[in-house]
């Protein structure tokens, strides 16, 4: 091996063992382009080499699942001949470098995954993590990310209806930007990313190919001097207008039945889309890079194959329909080029003006990628953090002040600053707009609705990844249930540090185990997802953050429920029970800067019972408002119900817990309901049947939130006006971002 060759594969990120394996698979040395193709396909991002075996733990099937993991997006049956298609994906690293374009192209990528399945995208969500908003750079990142999402999603005309934003120093240098897209499709029109039918043509459509995003850190070679590095922007710029045209054109192609297979060009561009399509179909593809429309002159085969230019799709049209495909694309002012054909030899054969530049088995790039079983070990911080004695935390003297402080904590504060920049009403389906537990969309032409949410508490996962992972699933499901939806299925985005570190891999494995168990018990299989590793700054990892995106179905949208208190005189009921669980809470973090203690525990059977009880009660029409308890516990949830409804409440409870425990404990499996007092009896019966604690804790009314507790003596813990609470809660983020 010459030094120069070693340089190439090493700089492309392959290990010696991997390079040897390539030689073995090919029975010869790979050439330069082939090495590049292996390097991107065997990268963590494309091959899932460190996560594959762990991901097998997820339950992925169920009576409604039409398509589980392995395609561009998951597909779930929602009846009446319709299916819902969804997936979540990360764009963390690009967003850390260029927040606006990074986030924008993240939206573009996930939307393409959904319409590649033939589905019309009907909703977007985004799950975001940033550091401390007092930091200039963090502010810049958040501003850029939000406006990038707004720019791209709004232009496409897909409502951005939900998501979450969580703040912690661990995300300071490495924000998390996860975008989720939900689409609707006729069940019998699901498209697949397959290059089937030997002899069929292969077309690339949409944007021209430029030197965007060719792995910046790859290498210099004879063909690529310093000058070309210059010409090679690592940051991709998104063109949402082009994407909108592409979306409409692709859906029209599917509608007209012109397509055998379709796949977006995402990470690793033409290389990954072509070999994945061939590999899924058990075929090969021969393509000539000289036929690919270019944006720039003098591009090499390597550059064309690895370019990550956005807004492109790869199509295999039905034989003889090439002209019709061209016509549809022309209607939308888009280019389409035949670049090759499907072959029966299972090989990826890349030509440049007829000359063979690369020839490798498609499956060598995909199925034969290495699989690693990383070492795992519980990190030393865990036992120390879990041993933290929460009793050592002083009880705040002024609980009103504590509540106001929590309301102003960015993780809890209103996210209106974010979502008022998103068009969440386009398509006229958004029945419950951002701000409630889950967004609800109507399905036009039916009486049904969809509820969507994303959730994850990275702090819990840091302290106890198994429980944290399970809670992420449980909380997402609880959010859907509170809106009146039956949870259907999950898409997940697993954001972790470097998996080659045993401590990180332990976090990863434990989190997936916890999520899997929760998915099993709650009957919400995983149908799609994404893994993002190496989220670290100077060796410091982000909190383990397995984001759960979940979709639920409302059989009768008229029975939907929201979190806001509706009417004075209604009784306030707590489902579930409050325990001494303040470890890992927002209370400890926001008031004392403490990230320690045992996070709340999760009894999945209890969780399931609480959810079933709540959902039945909603469907029976007993409930006027429902809100799940999460960050900040009971007091925060009550404040949110009151502020949202513009009406106060008086709460009066007997409890054996310390005041701050009672108010701010984050015990799981709890929901606050409000209902007409006449409905309480049937609710109590339901709860008894489900063996769920169900207790009247107060009455809706007035313009204040008053919380009284009776333990040894009767005392008023909280007495605040709605206005005071609302000002803090609404004003916090705008003030920090100003």
């Amino acid at each position: 091996m010459t030094n120069q060759e070693r340089e190439a594969w090493q700089k492309m990120g392959l290990t010696l063992a991997e390079y040897r394996k390539i030689k073995e698979l090919l029975g010869r040395e790979p050439n330069y382009l082939e090495t590049g193709m292996f390097a991107v396909m065997w990268s963590e991002h494309c091959s899932y080499k460190h996560s594959k075996t762990t991901l097998r733990l997820f339950p992925t099937s169920g009576p409604r699942v039409i398509q589980g993991p392995g395609e561009n997006a998951g597909v779930v049956d929602i009846g009446d001949g319709q299916a819902v298609v969804f997936k979540i994906e990360s764009h963390n690293h690009p967003s850390a470098i260029e927040p606006f374009q990074g986030a924008a192209t993240g939206v573009g990528g996930i939307v393409r995954d959904v319409f590649a399945m033939g589905a019309r995208p009907v909703a977007l969500l985004n799950s975001l993590r940033f550091g401390n908003l007092k930091d200039r750079r963090v502010k810049y990142l958040m501003g850029g990310v939000v406006s990038g999402i707004s720019f791209y999603g709004n232009c496409l005309g897909i409502p951005t209806v939900g998501g979450e934003v969580f703040f912690d120093e661990s995300y300071g240098g490495n924000p998390l930007v996860n975008a989720m897209c939900v689409g609707i499709i006729k069940k019998d029109q699901v498209a697949k990313g397959v290059a089937a039918g030997v002899g069929n043509t292969v077309m690339v459509v949409g944007a021209r190919t430029g030197r965007d995003g060719i792995h910046g850190a790859t290498f210099a070679s004879e063909e690529l001097g310093e000058q070309s590095e210059d010409r090679r922007p690592a940051v991709q710029v998104g063109d949402p207008f082009m994407e909108k045209l592409l979306l409409e054109a692709c859906l029209e192609l599917i509608d007209q039945g012109l397509i055998v297979g379709m796949q977006d060009l995402g990470a690793a561009g033409l290389t990954s889309s072509s070999c994945e399509m061939a590999s899924r179909a058990g075929t090969g593809i021969e393509l000539d890079v000289s036929l690919v429309p270019r944006r720039e002159e003098g591009m090499t085969a390597y550059e064309v194959m690895l370019s990550e230019s956005q807004e492109r799709m790869l199509l295999v049209p039905k034989p003889g329909s090439e002209q019709q495909v061209r016509d549809v694309l022309r209607k939308w002012n888009l280019e389409a080029a035949v670049i090759g054909k499907v072959t029966g030899d299972g090989l990826m054969r890349i030509l440049d003006n007829g000359q063979v530049m690369a020839e490798v088995p498609a499956k060598a790039l995909t199925d034969h990628a290495p699989v690693y079983h990383p070492v795992m070990e519980e990190p030393s911080y865990v036992s120390e953090a879990l041993a933290f004695d929460v009793a050592s935390v002083p009880v705040p003297e002024d609980l009103n002040q504590s509540l106001l402080q929590l309301l102003a904590s960015p993780t809890i504060a209103s996210k209106e600053w974010v979502y008022r920049q998103y068009d969440y009403k386009v398509q006229v389906n958004t029945v419950v707009v951002p701000g409630s537990d889950a967004a609800v969309l109507r399905l036009k032409g039916t009486s049904k609705g969809l509820a969507v949410t994303t959730d994850c508490n990275g702090r819990y996962c840091y302290l106890d990844p198994y429980t944290g992972g399970a809670i992420a699933v449980a909380e997402a499901a609880r959010n859907l249930v509170c809106s009146g939806a039956e949870p259907l299925a999950v898409t997940d985005c697993l954001n972790f540090g470097n998996p080659e570190k045993p401590g990180i891999f332990w976090q990863f494995r434990r989190a997936v185990e916890g999520m899997s168990e929760a998915c099993r018990v709650l009957s919400t299989p995983v149908v799609s997802g994404n893994v993002s590793f190496y989220n670290e700054t100077n060796g410091e990892p982000v909190f383990p953050t397995p984001v759960v995106g979940m979709v639920g179905l409302l059989p009768e949208i008229s029975k939907r429920c929201t979190m806001d208190f509706k009417q004075a005189g209604d009784v306030v009921v707590l489902l579930g029970e409050t325990k001494e669980e303040i470890g890992g809470s927002e209370f400890l973090y926001a008031l004392y800067g403490i990230t320690a203690g045992k996070p709340p525990q999760l009894d999945l059977e209890r969780e399931k019972a609480v959810q079933s009880c709540c959902l039945e009660a909603i469907w029976q029409g007993l409930i006027k408002s429902a809100h799940d308890l999460s960050d900040g516990g009971l007091a925060i949830a009550l404040a949110e119900c009151a502020v949202a409804g513009g009406v106060g409440a008086e709460i009066n409870v007997e409890t054996g817990l310390a005041d701050h425990m009672f108010l701010f404990s984050e015990s799981q499996s709890r929901i606050i309901l409000s209902l007409d007092s006449a409905s309480f009896k049937p609710l109590a019966e339901l709860a008894a049947r489900h063996q769920v604690p169900c207790q009247v804790i107060g009455v809706v009314g007035g313009e204040r939130l008053v919380i009284k507790a009776q333990n040894r003596e009767a005392k008023v813990l909280i007495d605040l006006s709605l206005k005071e609470m609302e000002d803090k809660w609404r004003g916090a983020i705008p003030c920090l971002m100003a």
């Binding site: 406006s147 709004n154 005309g157 207008f241 002012n333 009403k425 386009v426």
Partner: protein
């Protein structure tokens, strides 16, 4: 009454408008592709919201050169009713069918929110179902709704009662705090002098059904129907309150 909803590349409220006119108002309605050159047979043309041509350069700047816009101009000249919503309003400005120009919101951010509008002129074919000074709740969603016109143009708009909607608070007070985008004089919608071309930034099609939280937007569509039926198939006409001297549809 037959409606046409123009589809430009990048329009994204076209289907919403069609849904409301067809399903909610129960009227015949077609999409009209931006390449069309004839609007024969239509009684009202809607330019919907969205990001025509990506709104690159300036909002509406490229769309106004679409072949259909010549037809829209002719249609308007003959007295046909033209309603531009959001991006449609921006296109009408760029095309010179309405005076003034749109700039980015003064907050320099997109704004999606509910707004209250004061109906300043209910004597138009688009507002005749509203009471004088009525306050209606209609959502906005735009990044460039900051209306500008030079002082002379503005004075002429005021004089001609061409300012149809202004942003106001819940009680109908037109205040700076109620202005979501920096628009001159809180202007949310204007009409041409002839009274048959209306541009508005808020989206009436997004609040025409109870399930979406409000039905004030229906007033705009029912006004159009009233205007049309009130004068026997002619879009001008005395009964709808628009100007008498207006040229009659040929």
């Amino acid at each position: 009454m037959k409606f046409g909803v123009v589809v430009f590349p990048g329009s994204n409220c076209d289907a919403d408008v069609k849904h409301v006119i067809g399903e909610v108002m129960g009227q015949p309605v077609d999409f009209i592709w931006h390449q069309s050159t004839s609007l024969q047979g239509y009684d009202c043309i809607v330019l919907p919201g969205g990001f025509s041509y990506g709104d690159y350069l300036r909002t509406g700047a490229i769309a106004r050169f679409s072949p259909v816009m010549q037809a829209v101009e002719g249609f308007a000249k003959r007295g046909g009713l033209v309603l531009g919503i959001c991006n449609g309003f921006q296109i009408l400005l760029e095309a010179g069918l309405l005076p003034g120009a749109m700039q980015p919101n003064h907050v320099l951010q997109f704004r999606c929110m509910e707004t209250y509008l004061k109906v300043e002129n209910n004597q138009t074919p688009f507002t005749n179902a509203c009471a004088p000074g009525q306050v209606i709740k209609v959502p906005i969603a735009h990044g460039a709704g900051n209306y500008y016109a030079d002082p002379a143009t503005l004075a002429a708009l005021e004089d001609g009662q061409q300012i149809v909607f202004r942003y106001c608070d819940r009680d109908g007070e037109v205040t700076p705090a109620a202005n979501p985008n920096g628009s001159l004089g809180n202007i949310a919608g204007i009409i041409n002098r002839e009274g048959n071309v209306l541009g508005m930034m808020p989206h009436p099609e997004r609040c025409a059904e109870e399930i979406l939280g409000g039905i004030d937007g229906r007033l705009i569509f029912s006004s159009i129907l009233k205007a049309w039926s009130g004068c026997g198939g002619c879009a001008c006409g005395k009964s709808c309150g628009c100007r008498e001297e207006r040229s009659v549809k040929s």
